[in-house]
Every structure is written in C-alpha cells, then in structure tokens.
C-alpha cells in the first residue's frame, strides 16, 4: 500500500497510467482508484463552405500535449504558449476532425475550447467573416 504523498507523486508523474495505482486516504485502508484519467481529445471542424484551403485556430486548455494532425494530406503547424495552442492547417479542408491532442484529465472537457481565427479559400483569399465556422473539442473516439 502506498502512502498518500507517494500516491500523489505517482499520479502526477505518470498521468497517462490510467487507474492502476490504488491509494488510500490515510495510507492504511483500501479505496477505489481516484485522480485524473489522461486521454485524447479531438478538434473537429464544421464549415459552411466547400472550398476551404487553410485555417488558423486557437485551442485553450490545460496540459495539452502530443498534438497530432488528424488528416495525413493536411499540413499542420502549431505554437504553444502556456495554455494556448495556435494551429494552422492547410489542405482541402472539410467537415471533420482536424487534430488530436492528449490531456491529463479527460473528465475536464469543459476546460477546453477552440476558436477560429482565420480561414482562407483554395484561391488563398481570406474569408471576411468566420462566425459561421464551428470548432468542437471532445474526447476522441477510439
């Protein structure tokens, strides 16, 4: 049986190890597993246009790691500063998943949001408004 402090350290240091460490409240008794469960979120695009060629968007949320391009034919690049992840994706964009990323706690999906900053069409023209675009952040289905 692990002490409370040791249990906490293991939980922080091995956030991706899901629910395998049994901890007690006082270091003596047996209790169900507690603490965050790491997992993968996906950012999904909903577009009103059939000819999008590039998008810049920002994802806000804690502990984002392992940002991965969801569509092999897309070009993706991002910059991460604190809890803000700014991403550009270039390609023949359509409704669907743009990227995935790992989070330390899949139960905190409400802490994550995504905002469209710019969209260009496939002739490189910038969309004048992006209000009708939608980006959702949700646990990725496996």
């Amino acid at each position: 049986m692990l002490s409370k402090q040791l249990c906490t350290l293991i939980a922080i240091g091995a956030a991706s190890a899901v629910g395998v460490v049994a901890c007690s409240s006082d270091g003596n008794g047996d209790l169900p597993p507690t603490g965050p469960t790491a997992g993968t979120f996906a950012v999904t695009l909903t577009t009103p246009n059939p000819d999008d060629g590039a998008i810049v968007f920002r994802v806000n949320g804690p502990g984002i790691t392992q940002v991965t391009n969801a569509v092999a034919s897309h070009y993706m690049h991002f910059d991460q500063a604190g809890t803000a992840l700014t991403v550009v994706v270039v390609g023949d964009l359509a409704d669907g998943m743009l990227l995935t990323f790992r989070v330390p706690d899949v139960s905190s999906v409400s802490s994550y949001s995504a905002t469209v900053l710019e969209v260009a069409d496939r002739t490189n023209r910038l969309r004048e408004t992006v209000g009708s675009y939608g980006l959702s952040v949700a646990p990725a289905s496996s």
Binding site: V56, Y75, D79, V88, R122, N124, L126
Partner: protein
Amino acid sequence: MSGRTPLLVLLALTAASVDAPAQEPGPGDPTTVFASGFTAPCRMEFDSEGDLFVKDGAVIYRVAPDGSSTVFTDEVPDGRGFTFDAFGDMIVPSPGNSTIHKVSPAAEVTDFISVFNARRVRTGPDGSLWFAAIDSIHHYDAMGRHLESVDVMSQGGAAFGLRFSPSGELFFSSWGGYWKLVDGVVVPVLTEVLPRGGAPTFDELGNIYTGHESVTEGDPHRVILYDSDMSVLDDAFVTDVEPPCGIQFGRETDGSTNARLFIAQRDGTIVEANPAGIAAPGFPVVGLALNEIDEEDCADAVVGVPASVSEDESTFLDAIGNNNGSYDAGDFRAYLVRTGVVDGS
C-alpha cells in the same frame, strides 16, 4: 543597338576606338580571361546555381563555371538587361515591343507584363521588380502588379542601369551619372565625374565597383572603386581591362555571392579581377528568393510567433498570396503551394 540613343552609340563607338595608356597595376590586377568568343557580353547575371548568363546580340548564353558557354535561349526579341526574380525565373525586358519576358530555368519563354521602354530590371529586397526605362523607373510587385512609376528625367536623372545597395537604396545610372531613388526623389550621387559605364556593383561592405570606359586620350579604361559615400578609394582598382561594359560579382553553386569580380568587355571577353584584391563578397543582385524563405518561419508567423519573417518577406508572401496588405493564412497556403509542400491543384 536599336534601343540606345544616338548619343550613347556615338560615345560607345568612340570609347572602343580610344587607345588606353599604360597604367600601374591596381589591387584587382592582373585580370584573367574567364570566357570569350562573345561580341559584346555587357549584360550578364549569375543565377542561384552559380552559372553565368550572358546576353550577346539576340542570344542569351549560359556560361558554366569552367567558362564554356551554351545557348540558353534565342527566343527573346530585343532582350536587354535581365535579372532573376524571387522564383528563379529570368526576367528580360524587351523595349522593342515593350514586353517583359519571363524565362523559366528550362528556357521556356513567356510574356510576363508590359512595360514601356524598359532597359534593365532588378529584384528588390521584397521580391518586387524595378524597371529602368530611361525617363522613368517603374515598380511592380513580384506577381507583376504595378505599384508606382517615378519620372526621373524631370528630376535630372536617366535610368539605364539599376542596382540595389546593401543598405537597400536603389541606385540607377546612365553613361553620364549615378543617382539614388529615395522615396520617389532622385538624389545625385555621381554627376560631376562621368562614370562612363554600366550600373555599379556593390560588395557586402557597401563598396562600389564601376567600370569606366575611356572616351578621351589620357583617360584609361579601368575599374574604379568607391566607398559607400561615393568617395574614390582607388581610381585604378583594375587597369588590365579592355573597354569595360558590365561588372558583376559571382555566385557559388548554393547561390551565395562570392568575392570573384567579373568584368564584361567590349572586345567580347569576360575577365575576372584578381580575387586577392577584392575586399569582400559581392552583395546579392537578387534581393529575395522564395527558396531561401524558411518554411518553419512562415508557419510560425501565421500562428503568431513574433518576428518570424522579415517585413520584406511578409510583403513578398502577401504579394504571392492574396495581396490584401498583411500576411495571413491565405498567403501561407500560397507559399506552401509555390514551394510544392501542398498540392494546390
């Protein structure tokens, strides 16, 4: 010859007939012959792979690093002083039909834009194109959209040659003077002493090398070296020359400019100055090249990383993109398509 003014033809013919007196060797002496067999190889430029291109009569030749030459194209009518643009294409003005031709690396010739009476073109620091048209200088962006025109003749100048200095100033020249174009205003830099040569060339330190053709007894053919303020550093920097009509720094196979100074002569040869006398590598004649703009820098800039691309690069990227005045996602997409990273079809 058809595009030159009668006065210039007369001066040029006179220059060729003057016997130059012997001079003491300068720092750039002795010269060595690099290539020969031309008629008047006065207009020459190096491409980004280190090959020299020479316009001689109706033909543009490619001259390999060993000095051997092959015909690159003979399909540009009345071609004049050419250069390479940011995409690596050759840009050739043809005043006879007021057309600017674009010649691909594979020597495919297409009409690009129409510019009246253009004699010389240079690529600016932001990839835009500047054309010397004797009485005017015309400015176009990298995609061929007109930006501005300046009447230089009404301000006392005449634009045959063009060259950017390391500080980004546009010098222009005629047989009788050098000037700078500063915010649309013509500023004389050398008019009291007639340069009698084509456009000057610069090294990275800002030193200015000019070919000087003699038209009078006692005034020998030579290359004169000036500092960046146009004060004479060496009036006889190179003396071992026939009438010089073009001057150009070389480039390596990776496109970097080197410290080899080539001088075109009216006797049909191109000679190289003694490299031991050259203070610094030349300043690049192509101010910006697409393939030298870093992809990651462009990507960083579009996601907001500060100072990822320069102002000149940003201007160029916007010009090849949506041309809306700022760098954005559409411009980045255009860059990726142009560089082949993303399929734009």
